[in-house]
């Protein structure tokens, strides 16, 4: 990068190239060999960061930064977003639809690589110019002066392309509404209709027992099935004690009536009054 025509780069750059180049190739191989799309995306992001370092080493300072911002920052995150949208667990199927397609593809890739390498090897580049002169007034300034003079038409076409891509993405992902949007009232009515909204009544409310398998009584005396656990309800293990309760009540009334007829010889006056009160109470309760 020092003279106008150099023959070799610095040792530091060579070291960087061999170390990071190896990592970049491994990352690229992992991209195509990993089964899950998320792992592929992460490996590709690593490869792109290494490429950004290579851009910086090659004197393309602006492109190096843009590579990190646009590729690893925006494009790879967009990829990850779509991977999450499509489903992370969706691993690639390993069944081959065309027999031996994978080996043929690998063979094709190998042949293609040999072709490219032979082409580059034939070029026999001995010296290179380096960007020292071109980057004299600053890399960004040099790029800007080129973009706005020689390549200004391509630059404007690029603007049109970006707008078209934005509109295209919006058109592609837009879904037409097929039915009228529901109003807030309709939605709230939908939520309430046909369901038991408040918490279910506890067993034993208004009842004379509070065991879980005994239905609570409604104010009019009928047992409510809602008060019993759903499992018990489905098994049919509800114990109905309303008849027992009525029998108990009847027995109580009977005893009270007996006492009224044969007052206790040990307690007179007050006792009689008390018995009468209790009898009245039981009568009221039975009503």
């Amino acid at each position: 990068m020092t003279g106008l025509a150099a023959y070799t780069t610095s040792t530091g750059e060579a070291f960087q190239f061999w170390v990071l180049g190896t990592v970049a190739v491994i990352g690229a191989l992992c991209t195509i060999l990993m089964r899950k799309a998320v792992h592929s995306a992460l490996c590709l992001a690593g490869t792109m960061i290494i490429l950004a370092v290579f851009y910086l080493a090659n004197g393309a300072y602006f492109l190096g930064i843009v590579q990190i911002v646009v590729y690893t920052g925006a494009i790879m995150m967009l990829f990850l977003f779509v991977v999450m949208l499509v489903g992370v667990t969706a691993a690639d199927s390993l069944t081959e639809t065309i027999k031996g397609q994978r080996w043929l593809a690998a063979l094709c890739g190998f042949g293609f690589a040999i072709l490219l390498f032979a082409g580059i090897g034939n070029a026999s580049v001995k010296d290179f110019n380096g960007l020292a002169k071109a980057n004299e007034g600053g890399n960004v300034e040099g790029l800007a002066s080129l973009i706005f003079t020689k390549y200004v038409f391509a630059f404007e076409i690029t603007g049109a392309l970006l707008i078209t891509a934005t509109v295209g993405a919006m058109v592609l992902t837009h879904r037409e509404r097929t039915e009228r949007a529901k109003t807030q009232r309709e939605r709230s009515e939908e939520r309430v209709r046909g369901k038991h909204l408040p918490p279910l009544p506890a067993p034993g409310v208004y009842a004379r027992h509070n065991a879980v398998d005994i239905a609570g009584l409604l104010p009019d005396g009928t047992p409510s099935e809602l008060t019993v656990n759903k499992t018990l309800r489905e098994r049919g293990q509800i114990r109905d004690v309303s008849t027992e309760a009525l029998n108990d009540l009847r027995a109580l009334e009977q005893r009270a009536a007996d006492r009224l007829e044969r007052p206790d010889p040990h307690r007179k006056g007050g006792g009689r009054n008390g018995d009468g009160d209790r009898a009245e109470e039981t009568e009221e309760a039975s009503k």
Binding site: T8, A14, F17, L51, G59, F117, L131, Y151, G168
Partner: protein
Amino acid sequence: MNPVNYLYLAALLFTIGATGVLIRRNVIVVFMCIELMLNACNLAFVAFSRLHGNLDGQIIAFFTMVVAAAEVVVGLAIIVSLFRSRHSASVDDASLMKL
């Protein structure tokens, strides 16, 4: 080391990307492989820019990046709508133009 080695690396990355397009069936991974190929081309452009000593190669790489960004936006939108209609991200399932 001669900067031509960058060209070799770019060729290798491009080949890996092309092979990935051929052997993978997940649409998203295929798309990522295309991105890898574009990146390899960018590296080649930047290396050429250094070899020739002018910034034109970097300009081309810059335009490639812009086009790649636009391509990714539209391509991922297509993938999302494809997944919505077919519930699959495999390129084999998209063998018919219509459902």
